[in-house]
């Protein structure tokens, strides 16, 4: 394995890790507030990608400006992801709030099944992509290898911005502080006068937008087919389990670890590509049963 291959693999790995991180962020937020893994999050990713592709296809005859198209990606993700996330919380999960977490998990699984068919009805099963946008942002040459700016700079940049933005939001804004309080203890938060239901809806909208953003960003790089959402949700679960549930910085590191190791393995042992995230997860959980960055939790009897 020479230097160029390592460079190539790391760029691939970092851009894949950025997408994984965006999805994992939403998952881990919802998991913090609701104590539930939202299986339907994979559908939000797919919906984000498909709707961004549709919007881009509609825009192409009207404009040739790249910034407008980039903006379109974000708008599609925020609108579709935010609305769907809110709908999931308000229209579905709210009615199962007092049930056992496992039953809530199954409800999100059911929602995933419904959304998966809905997506197939809207966009069919032919592959959808928007490749020309990635080409428009130009290329750069590094050590004799040509990279697309989109993959090298833009996608990781957005992921880092999302990370910084979320950290800022959670630490310094009122809504963010409320989310943290509800994650810490729902009952006490309610007693302090925080509207936990509103915080829940907000979290879902935010998480949905982040998941859909992951999809929207990946649509210029890969083609979307049915079943992609399922793969993404399972992989990003591996990320948050490796990191420890509710760990945002941990998710960033775990996403990088998993993304890079997966990209490296493509060049060494291609058979293991799909397996890599789970191998990492199992290996980490064998040593640290609750993830790399987990904190000890009080045991309630």
């Amino acid at each position: 394995m020479d230097l160029n291959l390592i460079l190539l693999a790391s760029v691939d790995g970092v851009s894949y890790a950025s997408l994984l991180f965006l999805i994992s962020l939403g998952l881990t937020l919802i998991c913090g507030v609701f104590g539930v893994i939202n299986v339907a999050h994979g559908s939000l990713y797919a919906f984000g990608g498909y709707s961004a592709a549709t919007l881009l296809a509609w825009l192409t005859p009207h404009t040739s400006s790249t910034p407008v198209m980039i903006l379109a990606l974000f708008v599609a993700a925020a609108v579709v992801g935010g609305a769907l996330g809110m709908l999931l919380e308000r229209g579905l999960l709210r009615f199962f709030q007092d049930r056992d977490p496992i039953l809530q998990l199954l409800v999100t699984f059911a929602a995933f099944m419904v959304l998966e068919d809905l997506q197939r009805m809207i966009w069919g099963s032919t592959p959808v992509s928007a490749g020309d946008l990635a080409g428009r942002m130009g290329t750069v040459e590094l050590g004799g290898v040509t990279f697309m700016n989109y993959q090298l700079l833009f996608v990781p940049g957005v992921a880092l911005a999302a990370y910084a933005g979320l950290q800022f939001l959670l630490r310094h804004s009122l809504a963010g502080r409320q989310i943290v309080t509800v994650i810490h203890n729902r009952e006490v938060a309610t007693a302090l006068g925080i509207n936990a239901a509103r915080v829940g809806t907000l979290t879902f909208a935010l998480a949905g937008a982040l998941g859909a953003l992951g999809g929207a960003l990946s649509v210029p790089m890969t083609s979307f087919v049915p079943g992609l959402g399922a793969e993404m949700i399972v992989t990003s679960f591996a990320v948050i389990a490796t990191a420890g549930l509710g760990q945002i910085t941990g998710a960033l590191i775990a996403a990088l670890l998993i993304g890079l190791s997966r990209a490296m393995v493509v060049y060494v042992l291609p058979e293991l590509e799909v397996v890599m995230p789970y191998l990492m997860m199992v290996a980490v959980l064998l040593v640290r049963p609750h993830g790399l960055f987990s904190v000890t939790a009080a045991r309630r009897i």
Binding site: C31, G35, V36, I37, L92, F95, F96, D98, R99, D100, P101, I102, L103, L105, L106, V107, F109, A110, A111, F112, M113, V114, E116, D117, L118, R120, M121, A230, V234, F237, A238, A241, L245, E271, V274, V275, Y278, L279, M281, V282, L285, L286, P289, H290, R299, I301
Partner: protein, 345 residues
């Protein structure tokens, strides 16, 4: 569902299945599939009683299937029952290994770790083309059945008979396990594990035992399905399939072993109906049904059926429950309704 009625209903059901399979040969495959799904869901019901859901149990169906497939392929002339046994043995062995570390986890981690392991196996089954035949699956010759060389129709009928016997026998055995003290410990894991540990019972050991039992049941179902088709594909271990098994277990309910089979019957009916009338939306229909079941009948169909007679004649196997009192704190098996805490199925 009063107790004397259950054996009668089961006997009538099995007789009806066998007659239907005899009269309509085309009904044999759907009937075998239904019973195999029931067996697999029974495996998940075992875990469900401990409040655990596995999103990866279809891997045991795949292991059972590949175990059977490899045996039939590399040892030609092996009898169907030996092939079946090899499949079950493979999934039991793998289940025991996985149980050793998966039983440390509960809830979401338990479900998702199983999912992770099943995804590894699914990917390997699809990628290791030289051994598993890749995504096309592993095809093998139809083995002899108890030494008899049968043609396709006869083999299917023999399989139907075998599956019916296995489903009845194992359903009865698993129900015996449910009311035994070992089975009651599983209920205690669901309601309060810490208290269980305080009285000196190892929740991990009990869960591991249940886990291997569930792996065996799902593995048997997978091996049977593979035998019936003479084919095993990675698809049989995909996580969507695991989800279907969980779905059936929830739909049927975990209060009685017969629930898994009732759930499987309803599931197959929905699937067949949806395939006929809503070809593109059967998954959506299943999802909506699941939401409705969890909302209106979190105890499943069996839970609904049991509620009324229980109210009239409580503790109809009170003797057994009383016997178990010394090992297990009073858990909700005979006092159904799930009102004492938030856990309800």
């Amino acid at each position: 569902m009063r107790r004397p009625l259950v054996p009668l209903a089961v006997a009538a059901g099995v007789a009806l299945l066998l007659v239907a399979g005899w009269i309509w040969p085309s009904a044999r495959v759907p009937l075998i599939t239904f019973l195999c799904y029931g067996l697999a869901a029974l495996g998940l019901t075992v875990l469900l009683r401990a409040g655990q859901v596995s999103f990866g149990h279809a891997m045991y169906a795949a292991i059972g299937g590949y175990g059977a497939g490899f045996t039939a392929r590399y040892f030609p002339g092996t009898d169907a029952l030996v092939v079946l046994g090899a499949g079950v043995l493979a999934s039991a062995a793998f289940g025991a290994i996985v149980a050793a570390f998966v039983t440390r986890y509960r809830g979401i981690f338990f479900g998702m770790l199983n999912l992770g392991i099943s995804m590894v196996l699914f990917a390997l089954a699809g990628k290791l083309y030289a051994w598993t035949g890749g995504t096309d699956g592993l095809r093998f010759e139809r083995p002899t059945f108890l030494g008899m060389v049968l043609d396709r129709g006869e083999f299917e009928y023999a399989m139907l008979g075998l599956v019916a016997v296995l489903a009845t026998g194992l359903g009865w055995l698993v129900q015996r396990y449910f009311v035994s003290s070992a089975g009651q410990v599983m209920l205690a894991i669901r309601s309060n594990e810490t208290r269980l540990e305080y009285i000196g019972v190892s929740a991990r050991a009990a869960l591991a035992q249940g886990y291997v039992l569930s792996a065996v049941l799902v593995g048997l179902a997978g091996a049977l399905l593979a035998l019936e088709q003479n084919l095993v594909t990675p698809e049989s271990g995909y996580w969507i399939r695991s989800g279907e098994y969980v779905f059936i277990a929830i739909l049927g309910g975990s209060a009685h072993a017969v629930g898994a089979f009732i759930g499987a019957a309803v599931f197959e009916a929905i699937k067949l109906g949806a395939a006929a009338y809503f070809t593109n939306a059967w998954q959506m229909l299943l999802g909506l049904t699941l939401i409705a079941v969890i909302f209106f009948a979190p105890q499943g169909i069996v839970g609904c059926l049991r509620r009324t007679p229980k109210a009239r004649a409580p503790l109809d196997h009170g003797a057994k429950a009383a016997k178990d009192q010394d090992t297990v704190p009073a858990t909700g098996h005979t006092t159904k309704g799930g009102s004492h805490d938030s856990l309800s199925y």
